[in-house]
């Protein structure tokens, strides 16, 4: 089944690579992985969705904890949570088709964010199901390009959503170049 983890890591160069490498090396398949800043400077949060059983999920959690830059792992699969995916969909719709597409966009509470003579770009946020379904109905009109962020998730209420951990003052990690934020695998 799909397991969703919230993983707090030091926002240091190469950390995304370490996490991704762990999944590869342990032969876990990543369904989606997103990463971004948290409310605490120096700490990034990843939302990782993995297809594995309960034992696999537990081992994964253990292995994540063994990564030095990893501060905390929450398996929020069972917790009541909000999960969202964001998609940009470019549809080649002209003439009458364009009107139909705009109606569908309305029904799905999506937005049109770009219009050109040959195409429209639609932005939508929601559960993966909702986006899948919108995609299905748009397909007949010609989806020419699509990009999705993958799932970001957060447990509802207070208890499980502890404050993100403090950043580590300690050193450097491998890799030069950009930080882990804004990445996605």
């Amino acid at each position: 089944m799909l397991h969703t983890f919230a993983v707090y890591v030091d926002n240091k160069p190469g950390v995304l690579n370490r996490v991704a490498s762990l999944f590869r090396r342990r032969a876990f398949n990543i369904e989606s992985l997103t990463v971004g800043h948290t409310e605490t400077p120096g700490v990034s949060r990843m939302t990782v969705v993995v297809d594995t059983d309960e034992y696999g999920a537990r081992r994964l959690e253990a292995h994540l904890y063994k990564l030095v830059p990893c501060k905390r792992v929450d398996n929020i699969t069972a917790a009541a949570s909000i999960a969202r995916d964001l998609a940009l969909i470019k549809v080649a719709a002209t003439g009458e088709a364009r009107t139909h597409v705009m109606q569908l966009v309305d029904v799905y509470r999506a937005r049109i964010v770009d219009v050109s003579p040959e195409s429209l770009v639609i932005e939508t946020t929601g559960t993966e199901d909702k986006i899948d379904s919108l995609l299905e109905v748009l397909r007949p009109y010609g989806v020419v390009e699509m990009v999705r962020t993958g799932r970001v998730a957060m447990a509802r209420g207070t208890p499980p959503t502890r404050r993100s951990p403090a950043p580590r003052s300690a050193p450097v990690a491998a890799e030069t170049g950009g930080d882990v934020s804004h990445g996605s695998v």
């Binding site: 030095v68 050193p171 450097v172 030069t176």
Partner: protein, 568 residues
């Protein structure tokens, strides 16, 4: 006072108690080598950087202290990869320091630039790329802390040349490591001590499986206390040998692919396995589907990632072993398991008659005899470092280790070429130990250049080559499973005795059983290095054997009685 990054490196190592390092210089690490002369460090010049990592590993395993290896960028660093992977698989705490090209050159394919942190990412506990002098102290101190903490393992610190050369002020308090403790918290799904104790007290046929973790945790006495109190027999993994004295009446011996038949059978008949600091490697379980089907299972390991990995267990406890056993011991009922112990005695059955040890001298020299004589003459008290192959298994079967950390061998990775360099590290860590290398003619030829290191460092290391003219363990698999088609396994070698003499090492060649003792005694008397080339039976095999993936109780046994070789 300002120090260069290179000085900070040594200052940090010395502050952490490091006294010996194993390494090989080159351009990108030159500033560090230059600064080394100002610090109380013994530097052992190796002949290949793989040797440096194995030496650091042997040093760490013999003493429990962190071993340190140092090399230059590019080829120096990549030569370390095998040794790092070896240390990773066997949980050995080593820190590898590598030089790196200047930080401005990184990414430009500069001369001798290699992405060593990228290469070693999956085979280290952690690694660091240090690009400024300020970062040297925190990185090195944290590296040492990470290497030792939890389940020990290798850490690599890659330091650019400019970071070594620039100067900075160091605030040592601020540089002290702050490792996240989160991993020590119990997680949902962790087993409880009281569940383990209840299973132990209720078991009729319990069996302790003791691994390397017994020694790493320093739980040797606690394990024996558990065994004695509950009258629970113990089976030992290859890396666990020595953690419990071989002579202990409840110690059954080694389990697994080349373990004793009665040990494997006992595992299959047990109603409770108490796995302590071991990881159910495929070489000890055989076919996982038929493994210990009658047994409930308790597993204690400090690495939670090992729990429920290969074998599903009833109680999984992620904890330091000694701490866990201290919790259990007061609650373990004193047991009387006479029926179970009698059953195991019965399982020992005909093993004794099959034992090659009981074969009269028929003029042939068997490796088992060599090992047995070595054990007898050293009174089981030597620190033995073995390589990988048949000789490794014979050593494990016939050298009865009574002392913790008295056997060092590459178990998880099975790295040929490990023994000689690892023994150098072990001898430097434990200069008062009598050190013997037991190595095949194949593996010896992989790292024999380190004989020069033995001589340059004036080390009293004894080398026993079990020379069968084959890559013996592979030949054995070809004999059993590939219709005796010996593809690429006959191996020639130099005249090893002459070779040793060329290095300035005393040497002997032994071809008859009657000459074994004399040669071993001569080597022992000599207070410097000695090498003996034992030319043994060429096509002997290691028994018993559980073929890879076969049921643990379906072992290939030594043909009994042994008559076919007695004829000529």
């Amino acid at each position: 006072m300002k120090l260069t990054g290179a000085q900070v490196l040594w200052e940090a190592l010395v502050r952490e108690g490091v006294t010996d390092v194993f390494g090989y210089p080159g351009g990108a690490i030159l500033p560090a080598y230059d600064a080394m002369l100002g610090y109380p460090i013994r530097h052992v010049l190796v002949r290949h950087e793989q040797g440096a990592t194995h030496m650091a590993d042997g040093y760490a395993r013999a003493s429990g202290r962190v071993g340190v290896a140092i090399a230059t960028s590019g080829p120096g660093a990549t030569n370390m990869v095998t040794g790092i992977a070896t240390a990773m698989m066997d949980s050995s705490p080593i820190v590898c320091i590598t030089g790196q090209v200047g930080s401005k050159l990184i990414g430009s394919d500069a001369f001798q630039e290699t992405d060593i942190t990228g290469i070693t990412l999956p085979i280290t506990k952690h690694n660091y790329l240090v690009t400024s002098a300020e970062d040297v102290a925190p990185a090195v101190l944290e590296a040492i802390a990470v290497a030792r903490s939890g389940r020990p393992g290798p850490v690599l610190v890659d330091i650019t040349k400019d970071a070594q050369q620039t100067s900075c002020e160091v605030d040592w308090d601020a540089a002290a490591p702050h490792l996240t403790e989160a991993y020590d918290e119990a997680l949902p799904g962790d087993g409880e001590a009281r569940d383990a104790i209840a299973l132990i007290n209720a078991a009729e046929r319990p069996l302790i499986l003791a691994g390397h973790g017994v020694m790493i945790s320093g739980a040797e006495r606690e394990v024996v206390a558990l065994a004695e109190r509950g009258q629970i027999p113990m089976a030992i993994t290859l890396l666990g040998l020595g953690g419990v004295a071989a002579s202990h009446p409840l110690n059954l011996g080694m389990m697994g692919m080349h373990g004793e038949a009665w040990v494997n059978n006992a595992i299959q008949e047990a109603d409770l396995l108490i796995a302590l600091g071991m990881r159910f490697d495929d070489r000890v379980t055989g076919n996982i589907k038929t493994y210990a089907r009658e047994a409930r299972k308790i597993h204690v390991d400090i690495d939670r990632g090992e729990l429920n990995k290969n074998v599903r267990v009833d109680v999984a406890i992620a904890k330091d072993l000694r701490t866990a056993l201290d919790e259990w011991l007061p609650h373990v009922a004193s047991g009387n398991r006479a029926a179970w112990l009698a059953r195991i005695d019965a399982l020992k059955g005909d093993s004794a008659v099959r034992d090659i040890q009981n074969l009269p001298d028929d003029g042939h020299l068997y490796a088992a005899h060599v090992i047995n004589d070595l054990w007898r003459l050293t009174r089981g008290d030597a620190l033995v470092v073995t390589d990988v192959g048949q000789h490794q298994m014979w050593e494990a079967q016939y050298y009865k280790h009574n002392r913790s950390r008295s056997l060092i061998t590459s178990g998880g990775l099975g790295t040929m070429g490990f023994a000689l360099p690892a023994a150098i590290g072990a001898k430097i860590a434990c200069p008062d130990s009598e050190v013997w290398v037991v190595v095949g003619d194949g593996g010896f030829q992989m790292t024999m250049a380190e004989l020069a290191t033995v001589v340059q460092e004036n080390l009293d290391v004894n080398v026993a080559i079990i020379n069968n003219g084959y890559l013996g363990m592979v030949r054995q698999w070809q004999e059993f499973f590939y219709d005796k088609r010996y593809a690429a396994t006959p191996i020639s070698g130099p005249n090893f005795a002459k070779l040793a003499e060329a290095f300035g090492i005393a040497a002997a060649t032994v071809t008859r059983r009657a000459d074994v003792a004399g040669a071993v005694e001569a080597a022992r008397r000599l207070k410097r290095a000695a090498l003996i080339d034992f030319q043994v039976e060429q096509e002997d095999s290691v028994y018993p054997m559980v073929p890879a993936g076969a049921d643990l109780h379906k072992m290939i046994r030594r043909p009994s009685p042994i008559v076919e070789t007695a004829a000529d």
